[in-house]
């Protein structure tokens, strides 16, 4: 057996996971090769030394901090869901020509509140009311962006026809 093969079988030799004949071949080589002998002995000793790398336990507040992150994540997901649902409803309204989307106020009164902490069933009358009240899609650029996310083309003429801003 050559040194390279000892390297290949080294771990299995240390784990005592070799067949009897292979083990004998390795040991015969080790008797003849001081380099490999030192290497194998060193691998075993180094393995023991690794015990001197102690671990750590989680901080006492790790669980509570992680649950706080979890709560934030759920809130973020809910916000994204609402905006996407509203975009679908708005795009659908434009396509079927219904005034489900209300554009109110002058340009400088645009509601910039994009985050909605409300959870309503998609397609429900309640959702229609939410859309009506939120003034979410006064902004033509936002409506386009939301439509792009959903691969829905929203024509500017339709936006205007439903009462959107004629001049931006």
């Amino acid at each position: 057996m050559k040194c390279e093969q000892v390297r290949t079988y080294g771990l299995d030799y240390l784990d005592e996971n070799l067949t009897a004949s292979l083990r004998e071949e390795v040991e015969n080589h080790l008797q003849e090769c001081p380099g490999c002998r030192e290497m194998i002995a060193g691998l075993g000793a180094a393995w023991e030394l690794l015990d001197h790398y102690p671990g750590v336990e989680p901080s006492e507040d790790f669980l509570s901090r992680t649950m706080a992150s979890y709560t934030e994540e759920r809130s973020r997901e809910r916000t994204v869901r609402i905006i996407r649902r509203l975009a679908v409803a708005a795009a659908a309204a434009v396509l079927i020509g219904l005034s489900l989307v209300i554009f109110e106020g002058a340009p400088d009164a645009a509601d910039t509140d994009r985050d909605v902490a409300v959870d309503v069933p998609a397609g429900s009358p309640a959702e229609t009311e939410v859309i009506r009240d939120l003034q979410l899609v006064e902004d033509w650029e936002l409506l386009q962006a939301l439509g792009d996310d959903l691969d829905m083309a929203i024509e500017y003429e339709d936006f205007v026809a439903l009462g959107g801003e004629e001049a931006l």
Binding site: E48, H52, Y53, P54, S59, F62, R65, S69, Y70
Partner: protein, 201 residues
């Protein structure tokens, strides 16, 4: 096709989380936080970064709930997420290799590490502290894949097959990684090996 392992609590909890059970997520964190923090710590060498990474691991697990399939043991899947995030973290932070003795002592005084046996006198304590620092350095200076294989094998008790599954490697590749990792550690700690050997004589 799923391979739900019997008594794999992680798999069971993930399936409950999929159904919207918030309590299940908290149970999952509580059950696996020791493992995730310990693995992250031994890989990164810093408690603060390890806990930040561990939190991120659990949030990633939550985000993946809808597409989760119990194809492997939960811990196996978890180790993979830890590794992926740890590698990204290491690249981002461009962590230095050296772990100073002073930093180690600060960590020990603040209770950062679990004591692995108090020394009887100051001289012995200093030697021990130096050895701990050197062993940490030997692990933390290993290349990414060698380091994670060593951490999972030595400190998490994972078999070659389990590591292969977690790391998407062949068993032979894992053994090769481990051999190289242990060889690097041996060479790095050569001075201490001789000391240990003479102590045992």
């Amino acid at each position: 096709m799923t391979t739900r392992a019997p008594n794999d609590e992680g798999q069971e909890l993930m399936l409950r989380i999929q159904k919207g059970d918030s309590r299940a997520f908290e149970e999952l964190v509580d059950l696996y936080k020791d493992m995730v923090v310990a693995t992250a710590y031994r890989y990164l060498g810093d408690r603060g970064r390890a806990e930040d990474l561990a939190q991120e691991v659990f949030i990633r697990i939550y985000r993946a709930r809808k597409t989760y399939r119990p194809l492997a043991r939960f811990k196996t899947w978890c180790y993979r997420i830890i590794y992926n995030l740890a590698v990204n973290e290491a690249v981002r932070q461009k962590r230095t290799h050296a772990v100073s003795l002073q930093a180690l002592r600060r960590n020990e005084r603040s209770g950062d590490a679990i004591e692995d046996g108090a020394a009887a006198d100051p001289g012995e304590a200093l030697e021990k502290a130096e050895l701990v620092a050197k062993v940490r350095e030997a692990v933390l200076t290993l290349p990414d894949k060698q380091r994670i294989c060593l951490v999972l094998n030595k400190y998490e008790g994972q078999s070659y097959a389990e590591i292969a599954e977690a790391m998407h490697m062949s068993i032979e590749a894992v053994k090769s990684m481990l051999f190289r990792a242990r060889e690097k550690v041996r060479l790095k700690l050569a001075r201490y090996l001789k000391i240990e050997a003479s102590d045992e004589v």
